[in-house]
């Protein structure tokens, strides 16, 4: 499956419905909220806490879909539904994709 970083249609719709200024603030909020969720994934994995892991992945998936960040959403969804992974690699990949996504969102939000 190939996913674009940001689905432009979803993001345009969001701006049209909620207002571009508001969406720019919302992107900033996402930038603040996502790193603690990534940290929660790591800590849940270390503790073997599958439910905490699922919840953090679920939140990341939910927020990513809101912005049309389809690739990040798909990766988070795999973690949400896939149970505790064997190692931290999927989390590293997710964190890297988050950085790419956030940069793309910021560029779209404040052109």
């Amino acid at each position: 499956m190939s996913h674009t970083v940001i689905d432009p249609h979803t993001f345009d719709e969001l701006q049209a419905n909620a207002g571009a200024d508001f969406v720019a603030e919302l992107v900033d909020t996402f930038g603040d909220e996502a790193p603690p969720l990534l940290a929660e994934l790591r800590s849940a994995l270390a503790a073997g806490a599958a439910e905490r892991f699922r919840r953090a992945a679920h939140s990341l998936k939910s927020n990513s879909s809101t912005f049309g960040a389809t690739r990040l959403a798909a990766m988070a969804r795999e973690l949400e539904l896939g149970g505790l992974p064997a190692g931290a690699e999927p989390i590293d990949a997710l964190a890297q994709e988050f950085e790419t996504t956030l940069a793309a969102l910021q560029a779209l939000a404040r052109p």
Binding site: G19, L26, T29, F30, T66
Partner: protein
């Protein structure tokens, strides 16, 4: 609301003293009788006197959950101006009304005990004719991005929105404050959405608040569980704004309709409120001395043929609202409404009334009806419309009242010779001068001279050998 009376215990405004907790208004130390709606309106204006209060807001406060015409508000404003002087309430064209008399500060201790209430909610200036009732919505979601976005979407729809980040806080807010609808996330700390729905299912007071679940949990089982637990609707996240608007508005409409039906039901048969089931009339049946009042709008046929149908229906609902206000503010109970006519019984309340109380209350209600209609006519005249006139008959005697019908459809009924007599007197009043109030001998005797009357030729009733003495109320100065 109880909090409402607590926040403004007493206020002195020049010649006026307003005691909210006792629902009392005094002018120059003398108590002034004020209808209950008029009093609610005065209280609303006084507590918000630092600003212009929009009509919609006043209607929301005074007729909560009811859809009423602006006319009704204008009539009540006129009634207040009559008591307080025209300058006491300023009309700000296109914006609303403002109470203008300054409080007399020293001594009048707690006039403004609650600063937030005095400031009041910020009210959106509403444009155009689409006066959709503004609702207060609560969003419960622990995810900040979701929460902000949902709040924003609902605010853009014109609603007032509060938010919390867990189920327990949501539950507390539902119990403590007025909320028209809850938008609920499922996965939350403290108490999750399912936990909240379970608590709500066990609390009849909370079941009135519709809940729309918003979640990105996958699988039909979750949706099914929410619906089983009493959620009204389910929206998958990310929430589609078009769907959101449609579902929210439909649920709110149903809620406002239910609120309105409940209020109407309570007005028509207060005993239903206490859950006096309709299964058996025996539980609510009562026999006793009571006073019956029948008020009818004169010449309704002529009015109806001279104006568009919509205008007639609006007039009839304004008329009925005014009559109900007068009846309720004097403790009467409506037992029949026919559009142009309203029948009410006084003196059958739970606690036995003193002799003459029922007659006195009914006559007071009649006088208030005449005054409210006079105010209403003043408004109509300024719009170039013809005045309306009521005719009123009042009679006292023994009646039997209670709920009758089937469990599915019951109505409050009241039977007795006095019911017939009130109806005959009303018909007789309709032939007299506008605004005539005719009372029977029994009512007249119970009033013991407290009200000025003229004697009118006695009334012969079919099936009765004796004629009924009739008196006409003199207009109150």
């Amino acid at each position: 609301m109880s909090a409402h009376s607590a926040l403004l215990e007493a206020g002195h405004f020049g010649r006026f003293e307003i005691v909210l907790s006792e629902r009392r208004l005094q002018v120059d130390g003398q108590p002034v009788p004020l209808g209950s709606r008029a009093f609610d309106l005065l209280a609303a204006l006084v507590t918000r006197r630092d600003r212009v209060v929009p009509k919609d807001e006043l209607i929301d406060v005074v007729w909560p959950g009811l859809v009423v015409e602006d006319n009704n508000l204008q009539v009540q404003i006129s009634a207040l101006r009559k008591v307080l002087g025209a300058q006491a309430i300023a009309t700000v064209p296109g914006r609303g009304y403002q109470f203008t008399i300054a409080a007399v500060a020293p001594g009048s201790s707690v006039v403004n005990a609650n600063a937030t209430e005095a400031k009041g909610p910020r009210v959106h200036e509403r444009t155009g004719a689409g006066a959709l009732r503004k609702s207060r919505l609560l969003v419960a979601d622990d995810n900040k991005v979701n929460r902000l976005l949902l709040c924003r979407s609902l605010e853009l729809m014109g609603h007032e929105v509060a938010s919390v980040d867990n189920g327990r806080a949501a539950l507390q807010m539902l119990r403590a404050e007025h909320v028209d609808m809850l938008l609920l996330d499922l996965e939350m700390p403290e108490m999750d959405g399912f936990g909240l729905l379970e608590q709500r299912a066990a609390d009849p007071a909370l079941l009135d608040v519709p809940v729309i679940v918003t979640s990105s949990l996958e699988g039909a089982a979750q949706v099914a569980r929410c619906i089983e637990l009493g959620a009204d609707d389910y929206l998958h996240k990310p929430v589609n704004p078009v769907l959101l608007k449609a579902r929210v508005e439909s649920s709110l409409e149903r809620k406002h309709l239910r609120d309105r039906q409940r209020e109407l039901l309570a007005r028509l048969a207060p005993e239903l409120r206490e859950g006096a089931a309709t299964s058996s009339g025996a539980t609510s049946a009562r026999r006793g001395e009571a006073t019956l009042l029948l008020a009818r709008l004169r010449d309704v046929d002529a009015l109806a043929s001279a104006q568009p149908a919509q205008e007639t229906i609006e007039l009839l609902s304004s008329w009925t609202t005014l009559m109900l206000d007068a009846i309720e503010s004097h403790g009467g109970q409506v037992h029949q409404m026919t559009g142009d006519g309203v029948a009410a019984v006084f003196g059958l309340a739970a606690e036995p009334s003193r002799d003459g109380d029922a007659s006195w209350a009914a006559v007071q209600a009649a006088q208030e009806m005449i005054e409210l209609v006079a105010q209403f006519n003043a408004e109509r005249s300024s719009l170039g419309k013809a005045p309306i006139a009521p005719s009123i008959g009042i009679a006292s005697g023994e009646v039997v009242a209670g709920h009758a019908g089937t469990p599915r459809r019951a109505t409050y009924v009241c039977v007795g010779a006095a019911v017939q007599r009130a109806s005959r007197l009303e018909a007789l009043a309709a032939d007299r001068a506008a605004g005539a109030v005719l009372i029977d001998g029994a009512t007249h005797a119970a009033l013991a001279g407290r009200v000025a009357t003229d004697t009118v030729p006695a009334l012969a009733l079919p099936g009765s050998a004796k004629e009924v003495p009739v008196h006409a109320l003199k207009a109150r100065a």
